[in-house]
């Protein structure tokens, strides 16, 4: 069990440094694709670390799901389209399975939490589970040993 305690300590310290490193980079370099409507008639496709998705293809659909147009963004991740079009939904896809849709409203409460805090929440969950079960197991082992000792003492007493 000492090993698990030490390993917990090592992983917490390493995770803290990695989190700090990522925090210092100001953004978390993740790889979620996002569509941002810059203004009517123009949108941008980015990864959530702010880099442009220069190879993304954007499809525009009307309310009945009919494709209105499908175009590739420019090297800056930008796409200009006719602002007179009534577009219900944009879908952006790159060549690696990343996908974004404007139908997914950005109202998720966790997005308001800074990425560093979200990482720490994740690490804390895992560390808590590890520590809880580690101590629980230690407690059980100690209890079993005590019971064995008591049993031995009782046997000795009854023998005497």
């Amino acid at each position: 069990m000492g090993t698990i305690k030490k390993t917990t300590y090592i992983i917490v310290v390493i995770s803290f440094f990695i989190s700090g490193f990522l925090y210092n980079m100001e953004t978390i370099k993740a790889h979620r694709l996002m569509i941002e409507i810059e203004k009517k008639g123009q949108l941008g496709v980015y990864f959530d670390d702010g880099t442009t998705a220069s190879d993304a293809t954007v499809s525009a659909f009307d309310e009945s799901g009919q494709l209105i147009f499908e175009e590739q963004v420019d090297k800056n991740g930008q796409l200009t389209y006719d602002p007179a079009l009534t577009i219900h939904r944009f879908i952006a896809e790159d060549n690696f399975g990343h996908r974004a849709s404007t139908m997914e409203k950005d109202t998720h409460i966790v997005k308001e939490i800074p990425a560093f805090i979200r990482i720490m929440i994740g690490i804390s969950c895992f560390t808590f589970i590890a520590t809880f079960f580690s101590f629980r197991h230690q407690y059980k082992e100690a209890k079993e040993k005590n019971n064995e000792k008591r049993g031995e003492t009782n046997n000795e007493k009854s023998f005497n």
């Binding site: 370099k29 790889h31 220069s54 690696f96 399975g97 966790v110 590890a130």
Partner: protein
């Protein structure tokens, strides 16, 4: 490697979800309480490692740690991967709801395979076991991803410079890097905490 919602067709999404449930039950069966701390810590490692991005060309990739998790956790690897993916989905919206099963399979199957492939290899040293499993886990994962994409639509492999080719090109450098890092990690772990890799060491010397 996190496949987003809408990329896979419905039959593929359903099949992979059923597969993920199966692999989860297989991993959960017979789990002992004392194994949970180790599973949880490696899930934490996987959770953090997946947030480190390596930009390659127009996209970005991240470490998968399939080989490392597979060698250390063995049959329990899918438990760590599933929980870590769940937290990534909740906290960072990585992956998708319909593709959760596919993502679980993409990362769990390579971990299980490398574990069974390398656990009893007498001729290999720990470093080589780590290196080969690290690289192989990435390659198997990419192979499975390609299989899912091919099953979904011919769009992914029909073009001259297809998605499948791009995925391989992006992940090949990662396979090499992850192999070397896993090799060193396993070797180092055997020196400082041999208990964690004793199941791999029993056949050595």
């Amino acid at each position: 490697m996190h496949v987003a919602d809408g990329v896979l067709s419905l039959p593929v999404a359903i099949t992979t979800t059923i597969g993920a449930v199966g692999i989860f039950v297989y991993a959960l069966k017979g789990t002992k309480e004392e194994e949970i701390p180790k599973i949880s810590l490696l899930a934490g490692g996987f959770f953090v490692a997946s947030l480190i991005n390596i930009p390659i060309g127009p996209t970005s990739i991240h470490p998968l740690l399939g080989g490392f998790i597979g060698l250390i956790l063995g049959r329990r690897a899918p438990l760590a991967i599933l929980v870590a993916l769940l937290l990534q989905a909740l906290l960072f919206q990585h992956g998708g709801i319909t593709t959760f099963g596919a993502n679980t399979l993409l990362m769990s199957i390579p971990a299980l395979l490398v574990h069974y492939m390398f656990i009893n290899r007498k001729s290999l040293t720990l470093f080589w076991k780590g290196m080969m499993s690290g690289s192989l886990a990435v390659l198997i994962g990419v192979g499975l991803l390609c299989l899912l994409l091919i099953s979904t639509s011919s769009y992914y492999h029909d073009q001259a410079f297809s998605v499948i080719q791009l995925v391989w090109m992006a992940y090949l450098p990662l396979a090499l890097i992850e192999g070397v890092l896993t090799g060193f990690a396993i070797k180092h772990l055997s020196l400082i905490r041999p208990q964690l890799v004793k199941h791999l060491m029993k056949e050595e010397k």
